[in-house]
Amino acid sequence: QQQVKQSPQSLIVQKGGISIINCAYENTAFDYFPWYQQFPGKGPALLIAIRPDVSEKKEGRFTISFNKSAKQFSLHIMDSQPGDSATYFCAASGVRGSTLGRLYFGRGTQLTVWP
């Protein structure tokens, strides 16, 4: 059972465009929602993260939008660049029970930004 559902599976965007990746969850015990970026042959690296007390967090060209009532969150990459081409994973973890400590990952989105 996939606790965090991510879409789309793949995304092709023109340079300068906006990339949008969406995730949804069911478990209300989740309270930490990071996004990871992974290049081929490398481990995932934290890109940006949000907690449910805010609805949006922006770091440079990367923005997380969070909708607590809908249990959805999304990553927006503004002015997408070819160097952003990578696999992006959303994830969630929580503060109690089985959600404590571990990250639950979405299945990933393969982003390709073409010049």
Binding site: Y36, P44, F89, L100, G101, G106
Partner: protein, 117 residues
């Protein structure tokens, strides 16, 4: 400072052999995690250590899998009698643990690519 390191980077073994994968976390990180990444399953949680104890082993797929952590630092993931379905990239991550066990950012190593022939 140094990040999470894993060894070996690649391991090819024959079905039925045992393998050991090593993880060196970031110095001072109290929590250590093992995940497995495969094409069909994405990133799967295996086990999590807080210090030397493992409060959550729920992701270990079978009793052929075990892990230990010594001195609150290095961890070893052991797979006994390897099977072809064990082929995957095994990723280790580490983090600080805050109050109440709430985890800080998890930093990942480059992974060990395991191929079982």
């Amino acid at each position: 400072g140094a990040g999470v390191s894993q060894s070996p980077s690649n391991k090819v073994t024959e079905k039925g052999k045992d393998v050991e994968l090593r993880c060196d976390p970031i110095s001072g990180h109290t929590a250590l995690y093992w995940y497995r990444q495969s094409l069909g399953q994405g990133l799967e949680f295996l086990i999590y250590f807080q210090g030397n104890s493992a409060p959550d082993k729920s992701g270990l797929p079978s009793d052929r899998f075990s892990a230990e952590r010594t001195g609150g630092s290095v961890s070893t993931l052991t797979i006994q009698r390897t099977q072809q379905e064990d082929s995957a990239v095994y990723l280790c991550a580490s983090s600080f643990l805050g109050r109440g066990g709430v985890a800080d950012t998890q930093y990942f190593g480059p992974g060990t690519r395991l191929t079982v022939l």
